[in-house]
């Protein structure tokens, strides 16, 4: 546990009294469903979130995924499930401690308790069949847990989920999740018809019998909760303008690929990037596209580069370890100036690291990974909506600047679900047909514009444009360079592309007052948590503001001017840095987090950083705690 996490949670406990009559109105709720793997908790939670979104609530989901497919039952490390935070307003992050959790056994709850996501007052709907299990050890564990939960101040409500489901199905383990969906629908006064419709949509492919059984299980859960559980909440929704869509970040990125007009995604399975290709594999043919599953990460990017070179910009999707393997090819794409989109869904590292957990660990590798100088465009969406739109931008940037573009998302965005305004598909988003008009043979293949480094690209099939693309240092004519000047010139020209792009970027917007004591700098999926923490701190009179960077290579302009107006600049991100008070580390040996390093290269400011590698999405409570500590330290220093 870090120092910051032991400070009071950002939002404190929301008032939520149990009343026998009429639902309690509340601005938001955080609900979790936690089970052993394979019990369908995620499906139930996603459906519940979709229903909340349909009723006009803001939502954010976080999937809880163990590292194994079927870890031993009732094990603490095997906790699998989902968190759904929903509220009257837009919800941008996972929040802090949960309000209510449905657990299929008591052991998986310990997996979550160790993540510090529960607080006193938590309501637990707990499968109670374990109390009468034939194994003595199970009965004892269950009884001990109940006592422990009581000491922790949790309110446990035992629910005979399996017994109730057995009335409808001989395989209650597979049906419990729908029973839970029914219970949650009752407790949170959801429209039961929405739940029934949602499930008929989700299971449409499995046939009417399956749909009907699941609907009966939902009704059973709904009725059970109405009769037996004395909890009722109402989360009103704010009126919403225009149509909304709801999806997770990987679906949004996949849709972005299709809307950008790219037609080839070459990939190799890697968590948490793979679900982009799962989604695309089903729908990509609808726009004439193809998902190629290659024999390895290297071949995947090589295939994409081949397809890009031959005409239409292609895409590869991967995560950290895959990026490491693709590095040589990324260098080739930079050197030979081949447009390419790389969607990099970060996870925890190094090495295999935390494959199913959240980290922003690939910023430096993405920007600086290749041997030699390899200027490329790297930018990061901060919301699910941006996951969609940024892919379309990425394709255009890749072609305009004739270079690879890396889109950095992470496991938090990949699986998080959030509603956003339905995009209006535009024809101009789609890639144009492959240019096969004759090429002026007088124009060399690297006819660099001195100011921007940009050059037009001959495509195989264009008569007169025949040239040999090479990863060797080469001249404007694409010939292998044997003189010292050509490599220098080529590097300069490729470098100018980033300068040219930077000139078109705007400085980041400051969220909060334009001057003050503390400026928080973030990037990527932490936007919602940082914003929420800053808003809360400001409401308590603290002079704190934040900026959130999208473009990381080139870095957005105007940072020096913004930083000059704050006493202190603090980078907040989720990758490793030595904590400020770490033992055996002093100011000469302290290693900074990745964006902090980058900013220290690019600006003249001695920025500080706060980060962790817990593998969890950033919570507003942690950021709030750090803001309080930092401003306290500043004030202390002033005295």
């Amino acid at each position: 546990m870090t120092e910051a996490s032991s400070t009071p949670a950002a939002s404190g406990r929301r008032p939520s009294q149990r009343t026998p009559s009429g639902p309690v109105r509340t601005a938001e709720q955080i609900v979790e469903i936690v089970s052993d793997s394979g019990e369908g908790a995620q499906k139930a939670g996603q459906s519940f979130a979709a229903i909340c979104a349909q009723m006009g609530n803001g939502i954010w989901t976080v999937e809880i995924i163990p590292a194994e497919i079927k870890p031993p039952a009732r094990s603490r490390a095997g906790a699998s499930g989902i968190r759904v935070r929903f509220g009257s307003d837009r919800v941008t992050n996972m929040g802090d401690s949960a309000d209510l959790v449905v657990a299929f056994n008591e052991q998986v709850l310990y997996g979550r308790i160790s993540q510090d996501v529960y607080d006193e007052g938590l309501v637990i709907l707990l499968e109670n069949k374990w109390a009468t299990d034939r194994r003595e050890v199970v009965r004892r564990e269950y009884a001990e847990a109940l006592e422990d939960f009581d000491r922790r101040g949790y309110n446990v409500i035992g629910v005979p989920m399996e017994e109730e489901c057995l009335k409808l199905t001989p395989t209650p383990r597979l049906g419990k999740n729908m029973f839970v969906l029914g219970m949650l629908s009752a407790i949170y006064t959801r429209d039961i018809d929405l739940a029934l419709n949602e499930i008929s949509r989700v299971f449409a492919r499995k046939g009417p019998k399956v749909v009907e059984l699941n609907q009966r299980l939902i009704r059973a859960g709904y009725d059970y909760a109405k009769e037996n559980i004395d909890l009722s909440f109402e989360v009103l929704s704010a009126p919403r303008e225009g149509k909304q869509v709801v999806m997770n970040g990987n679906q949004a990125a996949g849709l972005g690929v299709m809307a950008s007009g790219m037609e080839m995604v070459a990939m190799y399975p890697i968590t948490p990037a793979t679900s982009i290709s799962h989604y695309l594999a089903g729908v990509f043919p609808g726009v004439g596209g193809c998902v190629h599953q290659a024999e390895d990460e290297i071949s995947a990017i090589g295939f994409a580069i081949g397809a890009s070179y031959a005409g239409k910009t292609a895409c590869t999707v991967t995560s950290g370890p895959g990026l490491a393997l693709k590095t040589e090819f990324i260098g080739l794409a930079v050197m030979a100036e081949i447009p390419l989109v790389i969607i990099l869904v970060q996870r925890g590292g190094p090495s295999t690291g935390l494959p199913t957990k959240v980290e922003q660990g690939e910023l430096m590798p993405a920007i600086f990974g290749s041997p030699g100088d390899d200027p490329k465009i790297v930018f990061a969406p901060a919301t699910i909506e941006e996951c969609f739109h940024f892919v379309i931008t990425a394709r255009k940037l890749a072609e305009t600047f004739r270079t690879p573009v890396v889109l950095l998302t992470d496991a938090n965005l990949a699986t998080g679900m959030q509603p956003f305004p339905r995009p209006e598909v535009k024809e101009e988003w789609l890639a144009p047909p492959i240019d096969q008009s004759p090429w002026d043979p007088e124009v060399p293949p690297y006819d660099w514009d001195e100011e921007s480094g940009i050059s037009p690209r001959p495509i195989p099939g264009q008569r007169g444009g025949e040239y040999v693309l090479t990863g060797l240092a080469h001249t404007r004519g694409g010939k292998v360079a044997y003189d010292p000047e050509s490599n220098q010139t080529g590097c300069e020209m490729r470098s100018r592309k980033l300068a040219a792009l930077r000139r078109t970027l705007k400085p980041p917007e400051v969220s909060g007052d334009p001057e003050g004591d503390l400026l928080i700098v973030g990037w990527g999926s932490t936007l919602g948590a940082i914003d929420e923490a800053v808003v809360r701190a400001r409401s308590e009179g603290l002079r704190v503001a934040s900026i959130h960077l999208r473009f990381l290579s080139p870095l957005e302009p105007g940072l020096d001017d913004i930083f000059a107006r704050f006493t202190k600049v603090l980078v907040v991100e989720i990758n490793y840095s030595d904590p400020h008070n770490a033992p055996y580390i002093d100011e000469n040996t302290r290693r900074f987090s990745q964006l902090a390093k980058l900013i220290r290269i690019r600006t003249r400011y001695d920025v500080d950083c706060w980060s962790n590698v817990h593998g969890q999405p950033l919570s507003p409570g942690l950021v709030y705690g750090e803001i309080v500590r930092q401003i306290g330290a500043l004030k202390g220093a002033e005295r």
Binding site: A50, Q54, V245, S299, G306, S308, G461, V468, T470
Partner: protein, 317 residues
């Protein structure tokens, strides 16, 4: 529009290509290098088939033979060590109109790029793959390659290569979905030409193993094959490599071999006393991955927009 000269014919003006139209930069291989013969054969095939230079793409990895694309005046892709095949497959994935030649060496294909060799053969996309086997790493100066003869002294194994050499043809014949495997030598130009031509005509991945002389680092490794015609077993068949009368006269040992006979192909490939020359295996009916990757090429904008809107509707609440 009076006075404006226009060409109203719908037919493009006829083009005729000579060898010069495929002539790239001056080849910088060592004098006596076997690569030169292969380069000449490929240029001649392009000329004889009248392939428009802009429709030809030569893809290579890294190594001496991988300089091949630079010496052709076509589109070329001189990429990374071992990675010619993924790029070549990517090129073909959405461009069935391009003629793709792949130049790869024994280190490039059978060592650092071995994974791609197996899988590209299985994908069976329409590529002509030429494995230039000089049994040594040349460009990095005489290190042991997977095909270096056992006992041959190199800079990494001065006491001689430790293990028996990998047999590229035997290995390739074992890969699932293999569709074309031929073997030829750089020093018999007529057979080399006929083999590469047959390979180019084959629909699918044609794998051509070319024994290629390196006068600098492995001089003499093929001496016995060159000096003793009895060491060559010429494969004949109506579906095989057409045999020039001069070639037929040179090699007295001949065998009628049906390229569809995969068992016999494996037996022949494993023979040590003779080198089978010709088409060992060919099955024109093997499925090709392009059928999958090329679906939807050229789909209209209207159809795409309609689908995207339908898909967004699915997510709309």
């Amino acid at each position: 529009m009076i006075g404006v000269e226009s060409d109203w014919s719908s037919e493009p003006p006829p083009r005729y290509f000579t060898l010069e139209d495929y002539e790239g930069g001056e080849a910088r291989w060592c004098p006596g290098c076997g690569d030169l013969a292969v380069l000449t054969a490929v240029k001649r095939i392009c000329r004889d088939e009248q392939l428009p230079p802009e429709k030809v793409v030569c893809v290579s990895g890294i190594g001496c033979s991988s300089r091949f694309p630079h010496y052709m005046k076509t589109y070329g892709f001189h990429g990374l060590h071992g990675r010619a095949l993924p790029v070549a497959c990517g090129v073909r994935s959405r461009r069935p109109d391009l003629h793709v030649w792949v130049a790869t060496g024994d280190g490039d294909c059978c060592s650092i790029g071995a994974a791609h060799w197996i899988h590209a053969v299985r994908y069976n996309m329409n590529l002509t793959v030429m494995l230039f086997n000089n049994e040594i790493y040349g460009l990095t100066k005489k290190q042991t390659s997977p095909t270096t003869p056992q006992g041959f002294a190199t800079n990494t194994h001065p006491l001689g290569a430790v293990l028996p050499p990998l047999k590229p043809v035997s290995a390739t014949l074992g890969f699932t979905n293999v569709s074309f495997v031929a073997q030829t030598v750089d020093w018999n130009i007529a057979h080399l030409y006929a083999t590469l031509k047959k390979a180019h005509e084959h629909k699918g991945l044609s794998f051509v193993h070319i024994l290629q002389r390196c006068p600098t680092f492995t001089p003499g490794v093929f001496d016995d094959l060159q000096s003793d015609p009895e060491r060559i077993l010429l494969l004949e068949h109506e579906n095989g490599i057409p045999i020039d009368p001069a070639v037929a006269r040179l090699y007295p040992k001949k065998l009628v071999h049906d390229p569809l006979d995969s068992n016999m192909a494996r037996i022949l490939a494993d023979r040590v006393e003779e080198l089978p020359l010709g088409l060992l295996y060919c099955d024109p009916d093997r499925p090709g991955y392009e059928e999958f990757t090329g679906r939807g090429i050229g789909m209209g904008v209207g159809e795409k927009l309609e689908f995207l809107n339908r898909e967004l509707d699915r997510f709309t609440i």
